[in-house]
Subunit: 289 residues, 2 copies
């Protein structure tokens, strides 16, 4: 879908195509967001942490409830953007998740079969007016590196994407929360979308993303639901983490029980961002001249 | 835990040790259950379906909420009982899921490090009084073969285990619902335990096992919650499946939207079993002489 295109490839397009493409890439003019986007791409691939054997194995997950579609890959190697491969699993197979060597060996076939999923001139969306909200986080300190994003478009369609290299010194073949649907992310037009980061094993035990959306289905706001679920994870399994959450009306939050989580959100003409608890900076997203 | 031991290895012990071990293996006297147990073990390993390359790749998942523990393996090969490997992941690593070659290559280390998890003379449980309920299903018709079990012990501790070879002609590396926590199974002493079977991709989209327990947390019975969630999966993503569900009080159900699901349950001195919708046969579990 177009929303998913924007989420996965929009950032890359901004970087490679730059401001010369005019208004629809105006977000690239913002240095803060540019840095976040760079980090997003870095962590998504070459910035991943190493497992005990010194290898990079990555997990990724995408979900786009407009088409009831999900895609995930776990323990894949030698790929710059595992989220794109998860997207291919979603679009080009009848499966929801491929793992390890099987996922890697399917890549050439999936890739050649893929439709263009890059933003092009005929794309109906422009980058800063296509969303009610585009909110993402990145964590690259210490033992983990995960990036996640949620978005809702002007029709109330929600989507999420999460990508990670997992945790440092993980065992070969370790799969964390990211590719596990409902844990690393979930998207449902009836309630919203969530992407998560933190201690994967704890996130899995409480099925964190789906838990937040259950709370929202019961009437809680995105913020209350996110805080409730993070508090539950802390008390029940002693786990810390962070989430970005949106509802179909475009209300978004970035919440975390960890000491910090780098996050940013674009909504209308304003960029929001923060790092430590309580931080919430805003600045105007300048139009290109 | 002892409950998990019974679930994973109890069936095998019944088969190999037989009635000579006396009262605590008295369930082996029942031919119907014996057949179910045989099927359980067969499907768990050598009976698995083949992927497009003609290979066997299996997924398995265990969860034991007494210790807040989970373990899963996906796309593992050359192992007779993937559920036991999932158990080793749970007991012997800091991770919740290992996949493919990484999981396989870790097996010797995990195996040598394992404590005895077989039922032995000093085991505090006997096989037919240790449970309020031990309920399992097996599906081996057509394109899929999955076995799952839920149990609750006399202290109200719940556990679940699910094992599958996936779907016929799946892509190499395809991971279904089984090892995905909350999809193929979930166990929580506050609400109950669920193990699922059916179309994995549909089960994943609705996070079926966790959904049933959410309904139970909201006050629904195990039966109503199971039916509600299966109906939701049918209407939302057009998916069919089956579940076994227990609550901490020992109330259990086997429910399915598919045409059939072979299931059996042992509670007190009665064996319950069925295959088609509405079938519910019972017979006494004879004591050994």
């Amino acid at each position: 879908s177009s929303l998913m295109d924007c989420m996965i490839n929009g950032a890359g397009s901004v970087m490679t195509e730059g401001p010369s493409r005019g208004k629809r890439h105006s977000l690239s003019h913002d240095a803060g967001l540019y840095q976040m986007i760079s980090l997003f791409i870095f962590i998504s691939g070459c910035g991943s942490v190493l497992n005990v054997k010194g290898e990079v194995e990555m997990d990724a997950f995408v979900m786009d409830w407009k088409t009831l579609a999900t895609g995930a890959v776990s323990a894949v190697r030698d790929i710059a953007n595992p989220t794109q491969l998860a997207r291919l699993v979603m679009d080009k197979t009848s499966h929801a998740c491929l793992t390890a060597e099987g996922a890697n060996s399917s890549m050439p076939t999936l890739w050649s079969a893929k439709l263009s999923i890059s933003i092009n001139e005929s794309h109906p969306y422009t980058f800063h007016i296509c969303f009610f909200c585009f909110c993402f986080f990145s964590t690259c300190r210490g033992k983990m590196g995960t990036v996640g994003a949620v978005a809702v478009d002007s029709e109330g369609v929600v989507a999420c994407a999460t990508s990670t290299g997992g945790m440092l010194n993980k065992m070969e073949g370790r799969v964390g929360d990211t590719p596990c649907i409902g844990c690393g992310g979930y998207a449902d037009n009836n309630s919203g979308a969530v992407s998560t980061t933190g201690h994967g094993e704890a996130i899995m035990k409480v099925v964190l993303a789906r838990l937040i959306l259950f709370y929202m289905e019961q009437g809680q706001s995105a913020e209350a639901a996110s805080d409730s679920a993070l508090a539950y994870m802390k008390s029940r399994v002693d786990g810390l983490g962070g989430v970005v959450t949106v509802d179909p009306q475009g209300n978004w939050v970035a919440r975390f029980s960890s000491r910090q989580m780098a996050w940013a959100a674009a909504q209308k003409d304003t960029l929001h961002y923060g790092l430590y608890t309580g931080e919430h900076f805003t600045q105007s997203i300048d139009e290109p001249h």
